[in-house]
């Protein structure tokens, strides 16, 4: 070990951003992007006027998807912001959280309906509120603890070597993915909602929308967003975190136990991944590959929003969720159906943001 703290990347990163002129009027690039945004806006208005109810449902789909993305990505961005650790195992923690909750629900709260004929596993038993909330809380807490263990065992002693830490978490995610495949199989599974919750809600204008998606997931995301905002801006812990994001060495020089704060932040970040896994496992499903998909979503959200910024995560999640939802439905031009190509629109979003702001919308140099 050379022992030299590897904070060198700060200099090139800082130099990098100064390349783009700030407030130097509207570059060609910005004009082009503004035109593109305007075209997309007009297109959406045209589509909305054709079928307003469908537009409302698609928009709600996008917003609720964004809510889930936000829950997962906020944990990712919190860990990165404070510690410069890119936790590539974040998607694995998401999926593992979901599986843990599912196992608990199956083991403790599913009564055998006598014959054991339920092949699908769904629709037979009844579930009360406890059978959803208890697995949620336990799984979330366990994932938090696993996160702290990962940080203490694998990451604590090579603080500052960001590439090496990313490689370590990639190795962990490979092992996690394989072990989860062995333990939980390759078939996609769902966590059941409490039976007495309504299937859907009816909004003004006779728009029907899923209750769990529209109320629980969205509500949870808003609560978490507000909670994190309160934690970051109003508490001593948040003060230390914000100071740590700006200057980690100075914070520890002031006599604050940075290691404790790091462990707490990792607990919180991993917990959010686990919570997202339980919400996602109920709202969508749990299957091998969901870990990749949510790692990618978290990456895109924070690349768009700017690494380490909570507001950036919210805006990035909203952008990604809405773009996903609209591109899945509205990429139909006359007879040509281009919805297959919707991933290109996501890619376009990423490119457009990076072209103007290489560090993301709210990103600051490390």
């Amino acid at each position: 070990m050379s022992g030299a703290p590897q904070t060198a990347p700060a200099t090139p990163a800082a130099a990098e951003t100064q390349e783009t002129p700030r407030g130097a009027g509207w570059s060609k690039r910005r004009v082009a992007l503004a035109l593109l945004a305007a075209a997309v806006g007009v297109w959406l208005i045209v589509k909305a006027s054709e079928d307003l109810r469908q537009f409302a449902v698609v928009t709600l789909n996008g917003i609720t998807l964004a809510a889930l993305f936000f829950v997962v990505a906020s944990g990712f961005t919190l860990i990165f912001g404070l510690m410069r650790v890119v936790n590539m195992a974040h998607g694995s923690l998401y999926l593992f959280g979901g599986y843990l909750a599912l196992e608990m629900q199956d083991a403790w709260f599913t009564e055998d309906s006598g014959l054991g004929l339920s092949l699908s596993g769904a629709g037979t038993g009844t579930y009360d509120l406890v059978s959803w909330v208890v697995p949620l809380l336990l799984a979330t807490a366990i994932i938090g603890v696993i996160g702290v263990l990962i940080q203490q065992v694998f990451l604590r002693w090579n603080q500052g070597q960001d590439l090496r830490q990313a490689l370590i978490t990639i190795a962990l995610s490979v092992i996690f993915a394989d072990q989860m495949l062995a333990a939980f199989g390759g078939i996609s599974k769902d966590i059941q909602t409490p039976t007495d919750w309504p299937e859907s809600i009816t909004l003004p204008g006779d728009v029907r929308f899923g209750f769990f998606r529209g109320v629980i997931v969205l509500g949870a995301a808003i609560l978490i967003g507000l909670g994190l905002w309160w934690l970051i801006t109003r508490t001593r812990f948040g003060k230390i975190v914000r100071a740590g994001v700006d200057d980690r060495d100075m914070v520890s020089a002031l006599g604050i136990n940075v290691q404790l704060v790091f462990a707490a932040a990792f607990f919180l970040g991993a917990m959010l991944a686990g919570l997202g896994g339980v919400l996602g496992g109920t709202m969508i499903s749990l299957a091998p590959g969901e870990d990749t998909s949510f790692l990618l979503n978290s990456l895109i959200v924070v690349i768009i929003g700017g690494m380490g910024s909570l507001a950036g995560a919210a805006i990035g999640a909203l952008a990604l969720g809405l773009v996903d939802a609209y591109a899945d439905v509205y990429l139909v031009f006359g007879d040509t159906d281009l919805t297959n190509y919707s991933i290109l629109v996501t890619f376009g979003l990423l490119v457009a943001v990076l072209a103007v702001r290489p560090l993301g919308l709210f990103g600051r140099p490390a």
Partner: protein, 352 residues
């Protein structure tokens, strides 16, 4: 960072190439195909990653994405089952596929080149996964079960019946790429690239266009990745979206890291290790409940990867160099002189 500026050791290369050329006489067809040929093209993919990392200080995970673009383009342009099966001549398709992949690579580079270190890693990872999702969604291009029975150039014959022709083709290409990349590293462009890796701010002050150099390096690496992608299609005679997914992206990264991110030779050392593990670990892996067993190759691979990252960030080549320094102290010093500070972002440096 020893070695990155050193000369090629021609005698060593000649010995390795000679031994490799004799391999089909010694080993079975199975070994030549499944171990040696596969490690050669996997090594090419890893070499494109190591080139960017060792000389440019950029650890890119987009290489499998680019190799997927090349492979898919090739498979769609020649006669095949699935995809668009345009039935072009395989050589023309090869050329076009390389051009397309290099174009995509340059575009990726243009977007990512302004980022450094860990940001670069994340953005390129997103690229690679986006390419995978693109091909799995667009079944017009990837078929429903992949593109199968791809038409190959007459040069390689039918690898299923006689793997030696494809083996020699891959071997020659790998040697050319290795020598070519080492040559590039000693040109003005290569030296400027290494300057950018170590001191971007000073290089900019000297008047070098940092971003343009990075984009060009990315394009060159894309060229190598494209060759690997096409050889992978020649080897498998098919390509599926599943063969360019995140797992493959990570496998290539693992190969590069096992071999060592700081030496080009490491790419093939890592690939050979990977292919051997892939084939033979299943035989001696004990079965421990669900946790371990012949099915759990990825767990073994993940653990090997983890151990290498934890113990020797320079990979096997790093171990080799440390061993050589340890035993060779009485001779001259280490070849590259004093180890330079590690490139930005390449934080697990090779000096420890």
């Amino acid at each position: 960072m020893t070695g990155s500026a050193g000369r090629i050791s021609w005698p060593a290369l000649a010995v390795v190439a000679g031994l490799a050329a004799l391999a089909p006489l010694v080993f079975t067809d199975f070994f030549v195909s499944v171990i040696l040929t596969k490690s050669l093209w996997l090594g090419l993919a890893a070499a494109s990653l190591i080139f960017l990392s060792a000389y440019g200080g950029m650890v890119s995970l987009a290489q499998v994405g680019i190799y997927g673009v090349a492979g898919m383009t090739f498979a769609n342009l020649v006669a095949a089952d699935g995809g668009s099966a345009a039935a072009w001549s395989p050589w023309l398709a090869t050329a076009v596929a390389i051009v397309v992949a290099v174009g995509v690579g340059l575009a990726f580079g243009a977007i990512a080149a302004r980022s450094v270190g860990i940001y670069f890693l994340m953005i390129t990872l997103a690229f690679s996964v986006l390419v995978f999702y693109f091909f799995s969604q667009v079944t017009q291009l990837s078929g429903f079960g992949g593109v199968n029975n791809v038409d190959l150039p007459a040069l390689v014959g039918n690898p299923g019946l006689d793997p030696t022709r494809l083996y020699y083709t891959t071997l020659v290409v790998a040697i050319l790429v290795f020598v070519g990349l080492r040559y590039v590293s000693r040109t003005a462009f290569g030296l400027a690239l290494q300057g950018l890796r170590d001191e971007p701010a000073r290089m900019r002050a000297l008047g070098f266009d940092v971003t343009r150099h990075r984009i060009l390096a990315f394009g060159l690496a894309a060229f190598v990745a494209a060759i690997a992608g096409i050889l992978s299609v020649w080897y498998n005679r098919r390509i599926t979206p599943g063969s360019i997914n995140l797992a493959q992206t990570i496998d290539v990264l693992i190969i590069a890291v096992i071999g060592g991110l700081y030496r080009l030779e490491g790419a093939w050392v890592g690939a050979l290790t990977y292919a051997l593990l892939d084939n033979y670990s299943r035989e001696w892996t004990p079965t421990v409940g669900d946790v371990l067993g012949p099915e759990r190759f990825n767990t073994i691979l993940g653990v090997v990867f983890l151990v290498i990252v934890l113990l020797s960030p320079g990979g096997l080549m790093g171990l080799w160099e440390r061993g050589r320094e340890f035993f060779g102290k009485r001779r001259r010093g280490p070849p590259g002189g004093v180890a330079t500070p590690s490139p930005a972002g390449a934080a697990g440096d090779g000096t420890n």
